[in-house]
């Protein structure tokens, strides 16, 4: 489904991704792990088309389609979804309006009829259950004044509504307590289907107790230095990243 070959990307003069090769097949869950500053979040954002990064070489295709030549909205329309590490607050727009605008933008791009507010509400009700929310959340402004956990849940709600082909979770576990973590994981697992794939970017192994990856890759200084099965995550949990980076890691706070 997703083919990344020799991907190099920079923020300004600063090269962050230094030749990434990765293949994700339909139905798979891949975890990307690595120490802080290794480029994991950059990889997630480059795949979604963040304008702060310039791709200097390499290719990325989704089902054969060149992703790199697409605008961020076109990537979303092609089925890419990025759950943000830091979701943006948009005061003044309700969650209901935002979600329907996004949902209808995707339908429109795919030549489908847009859903009116009433029909959309039905869809919403079903998806809200998935993240354990009542309808009140829809009248609040997007992420505005949300707690860290609420923001992450809102990302999962959006993902559930937009039903992406390829979901990329950028450190969705950071700052979550165990209950919120479970809700996020349930949301991801509920979306699992043989024709969809997920990339989970995380620093800690914890989330992977709930979302079981098929593959684990370790990113260090912009390159994948080691790949393995789910047991690699446990090994990283036990040994830290130092044995792969050669750099002593600060003790986690």
């Amino acid at each position: 489904m997703l083919e990344i070959t020799g991907l190099r990307a920079a923020a300004g003069e600063n090269e962050i991704l230094r030749g990434i090769n990765l293949r994700v097949r339909a139905g798979e869950i891949h975890a990307i792990m690595g120490p802080n500053g290794s480029g994991k979040s950059t990889l997630a954002q480059v795949l979604a088309g963040h304008p702060a990064y310039t791709v200097t070489s390499g290719t990325v295709t989704l089902d054969g389609q060149d992703l790199l030549e697409l605008e961020p909205e076109e990537r979303a329309q092609a089925g890419v979804f990025l759950a943000f590490q830091y979701p943006v607050e948009i005061a003044g727009v309700t969650n209901a309006y935002f979600l329907r605008a996004a949902y209808n933008a995707l339908r429109k791009a795919r030549g489908l009829e847009e859903l009116d507010p009433i029909d959309f509400l039905d869809l919403l009700e079903e998806k809200l259950k998935l993240v354990g929310w009542g309808p009140e959340i829809m009248q609040r402004a997007v992420n505005s004044g949300f707690s860290g956990g609420e923001k992450k849940r809102n990302e999962i709600l959006q993902m559930a509504i937009l039903e992406p082909k390829l979901a990329i979770l950028d450190e969705t576990d950071s700052g979550l307590d165990i209950d919120a973590l479970r809700i996020v994981a349930d949301g991801v697992n509920a979306l699992r289907r043989p024709d969809r794939a997920t990339i989970v970017v995380t620093h800690y192994q914890r989330l992977l107790n709930f979302i079981i990856p098929d593959y684990v890759h370790v990113l260090v200084e912009g390159q994948i230095v080691k790949s393995g099965g789910k047991e690699l995550a446990l090994e990283l949990e036990a040994r830290g990243y130092e044995w792969l980076t050669g750099i002593p890691e600060a003790a986690p706070a």
Binding site: A48, G49, H50, P51, A52, E71, P72, E73, R75, A76, Q77, F81, L82, F84, P87, V88, I90, A91, G92, V93, Y97, F98, A101, A102, A105, L106, A109, A141, Q158, L162
Partner: protein, 440 residues
């Protein structure tokens, strides 16, 4: 120029100056003399530094008589006004066309006891002594040359009175319209709102332009909020891009009162509004919200002044601007805190969103604080839509152009949401959304 206005004034005064009593005519003469002496402001005047009124000053406006030039033109129909009606059809609505009351277009339902809504001409006929005593005593002719010009010539407008303790649940709508037939005339009307002790009222004051002529509204509004009274005032300026609009609102607040205003200005060739609130008692709360939208070559200028004269008062002000094309916005926010106004809590915010390279904003907060135990802050920003917000929406499949509309609307909605009256807020929201290209 002044000679022509003097001639117009003598003719007007000779006709009884709007058929008022002698004292009223004398009051108008005083105002005229003040205007004649001062003349229109120039760019040398600090208050008008960024807003040149030269195009107004060099035009010989007809005034002091019917604004209609006699050429006729199509009569205004109810359908023409539909987009400007704003609220429910059941609201008490007085419509003025080119400064003249239009009874056929107005709606005057039975109001609660103690509430009167009448025209200035009706009030003058009913109780001349009262009008003589109060005419131009709140928004006085010395505030600006335009307020003097208005006080000299204004002979119609609206007078709203809410007696002590009465609650007026539905808003009253005062709708002032200019048409092609009013081209070349200075349309000068006054709005007076008196809300007595402990009463509650909400009113909407709109200025609309039918057609695309260079109309000129020179208007004055006086709002008196009695002790412990609660007032919400919504002001909507929606005229053509060629329109001239000069407005002054003067608010006087008694102790323990609450006044909140929302001003929507869509600009014009020149659109200027001065909003001045005097806090004349302790424990007063004043909330001023504004939204101005400029496009094309429009100029939209808001000057606000808050006079903290007494201790323990709170004022809160948020004005936001959205500027496109080569439009130009001016914001000046003055807060004066007298030495005795201890424990004043005043906050002023002005935020501007630029949608184009050619748009321009001049913003100036001006706090003059003479008390030492106060909390006063201000902040002004001029910027563009944050790229991270753009990316967030685009990453959800929303095209960039639509993302811009959504985020611009969001910027505006934040201040529209501060309107307390639910029907007014809903109507404003629809208006702003439509103006910014957003569907509900």
């Amino acid at each position: 120029m002044t000679a022509a206005y003097l001639e117009a004034f003598e003719r007007f005064a000779g006709n009884g100056g709007g058929r008022g009593p002698a004292g009223l005519v004398a009051r108008r003469r005083e105002a005229f003399e003040r205007f004649a002496k001062a003349g229109f402001p120039t760019a040398k005047d600090e208050e008008w530094r960024f807003t040149s009124v030269a195009p107004i000053a060099r035009t010989a406006w007809r005034t002091g008589g019917p604004a209609d030039d006699g050429s006729g033109g199509p009569a205004v129909t109810a359908a023409d006004l539909a987009p400007y009606r704003f609220g429910g059809a059941e609201w008490c609505t007085l419509v003025f066309v080119n400064g003249r009351f239009a009874p056929g277009l107005s709606h005057r339902p039975t109001l609660p006891e103690g509430v009167t809504v009448e025209t200035l001409a009706e009030a003058t006929a009913r109780d001349p002594a009262q009008v003589e005593r109060t005419y131009a005593r709140v928004a006085t002719p010395d505030i600006t040359p335009f307020s003097a010009f208005n006080a000299a010539f204004a002979d119609d407008g609206a007078v709203v009175r809410v007696a002590a303790g009465v609650e007026l649940t539905d808003p009253v709508h005062l709708l002032y319209v200019t048409t092609e037939a009013g081209a070349g005339a200075a349309v000068q009307v006054r709005t007076v709102v008196l809300v007595e002790r402990g009463a509650r009222a909400q009113f909407v004051e709109s200025y609309a332009g039918l057609g695309s002529t260079a109309s000129f509204h020179n208007v004055v509004t006086e709002v008196v909020v009695g002790e412990g009274a609660w007032v919400e005032h919504t002001r909507i300026q929606r005229e053509s891009q060629a329109a001239y609009h000069i407005g002054l609102t003067q608010v006087e607040q008694g102790r323990d009162s609450h006044y909140r205003s929302f001003s929507l200005a869509e600009g014009g060739a020149i659109a200027r509004h001065d909003l001045r609130a005097r806090l004349s008692g302790e424990n007063v709360e004043t909330l001023l919200y504004g939204l101005y939208l400029g496009r094309g070559n429009q100029l939209v200028d808001n000057h606000t002044t808050i006079f903290h004269d007494y201790p323990n008062c709170r004022s809160w002000e948020v004005y936001k601007g959205i500027l496109d094309g080569r439009s130009h916005a001016v914001f000046n926010g003055k807060v004066f805190v007298k030495p005795e106004a201890q424990k004043t809590d005043a906050k002023q915010t002005n935020r501007n969103l630029l949608l184009s390279e050619g748009a321009r904003v001049d913003t100036k907060p001006q706090l003059e604080i003479f008390a030492d135990d106060v909390k006063c802050t201000h902040g002004a920003t001029v910027g563009r839509i944050d790229e991270s917000a753009f990316f967030y929406l685009q990453s959800r499949g929303i095209p960039r152009a639509e993302a811009q509309r959504v985020l611009t609307y969001a910027f505006a909605a934040e201040v529209v949401n501060e309107v307390a009256s639910a029907p007014v807020r809903a109507a404003l929201d629809r208006l702003v959304a439509a103006r910014l290209g957003i569907e509900g």
